[in-house]
Symmetry: C2
Subunit: 253 residues, 2 copies
Amino acid sequence: MIRLSIIGSGNVAQHLIQAFIKSSEIELVQVFARSEKSVSHLISVDKITSNYNELQAVDVTIISVTDASIAEISKNIAFENALVVHTSGSVAMETLDSKNRKGVFYPLQTFSKSKEIKFKYIPICIEAENLNDLQLLETVAKAISNSVYNINSEQRKALHVAAVFVSNFTNHLYQIGNEICNKNGLSFDILKPLILETANKIVSLSPIEAQTGPAKRKDTQTINAHLSFLSDENQKEIYKMLTKSIIDNGKKL
Amino acid sequence: MIRLSIIGSGNVAQHLIQAFIKSSEIELVQVFARSEKSVSHLISVDKITSNYNELQAVDVTIISVTDASIAEISKNIAFENALVVHTSGSVAMETLDSKNRKGVFYPLQTFSKSKEIKFKYIPICIEAENLNDLQLLETVAKAISNSVYNINSEQRKALHVAAVFVSNFTNHLYQIGNEICNKNGLSFDILKPLILETANKIVSLSPIEAQTGPAKRKDTQTINAHLSFLSDENQKEIYKMLTKSIIDNGKKL
């Protein structure tokens, strides 16, 4: 049994707690949370602490907090020479305090508290300073996921930027679609099968093969009709920029 | 049995042919295709014609061609006083020639030739000049789909613009993600579970509730790190514009 603790009580921390509790290979020893209430629905209260001196040295301690707090929290830890990792896509491994061995355990997914998630299908990107720790993190990751990748800090940065494009920005485009529907007395539900199929397509086709629409066809008549239909200046600008990007991309091929 | 013909042999036409052939309520009488080869793998050659004078008047004739060709093709049809509809999201019903009764049969989906699709889940937006024709189109639509909507031409235009945002533009963001992966020696496969979950989330959460990421958190440190990471000017501009749009949107709430 690998002994593991989690520092943090946000979205990612809560999903990790739920995943590790179900695993037979991991013993979740402690959770550090400033407010007991935030995690007491997930784990028994005697395992929750808000005191760094009570935090035991275990095989792996996972810091799952906002990026800006990672350095300070890793300093606050009282024990030394144990493996301490963070879960951030954009923070370098070196940001962690040097009194403990460093590593990264980055689950590449979009987490919302109210939406349950199957960790089994979430890619976990791991990084460590030495091979032993990397193997330990691999065992921990495989205990909850089928998909584990060794990714260095520079690649992880690239992955995080790419994730912002394919997830955060994509969701924002869904929201613009939702707004256009609301404004025209249409249910957003009509768009949902299209949204799901657009995502499902790239499992079997590359995004270049999957591209359709007026910009791909260089159909300037439809593009101009859409631009005169849009009254919101921000939506218009986004439409213009992404249309131009699709057209320019076609020229590169 | 409703007697139906299709004019066209592109993506949408081919998917419609496949769907109607499977339906027990529809008899697919003829397919008009300039090249017999383009549809002969789907339907017997004696039903394929490239001669407008051979095209019979049936209950419903579906014109499924590029937007720019709809008007001319509806003029070329030799018969009169039958129901002729098009499948376009952005062309007004009135564009069709007045010698036949007009209608629209718009399946809201992204079609790729090499990707099979279940029509059952595709919303079909119908419009007609009179109630009888609308009911006829409803029967035809329900023969292949569970999800049929009465949508007027103005709403259809809105829906098509919204579809460009949630599908064509979204797919382009996938492509940018793919490029960033390629450039950094990463497999695009790592991003696929994230892409699928981002789409699946909006089935149960509104896009506003589902929004995550540095722009949503107004995490300027990560935003600036991402901007200095990106070397492609076009990707940088898209990153800036969509980040600003997410932040401005947060202020409106």
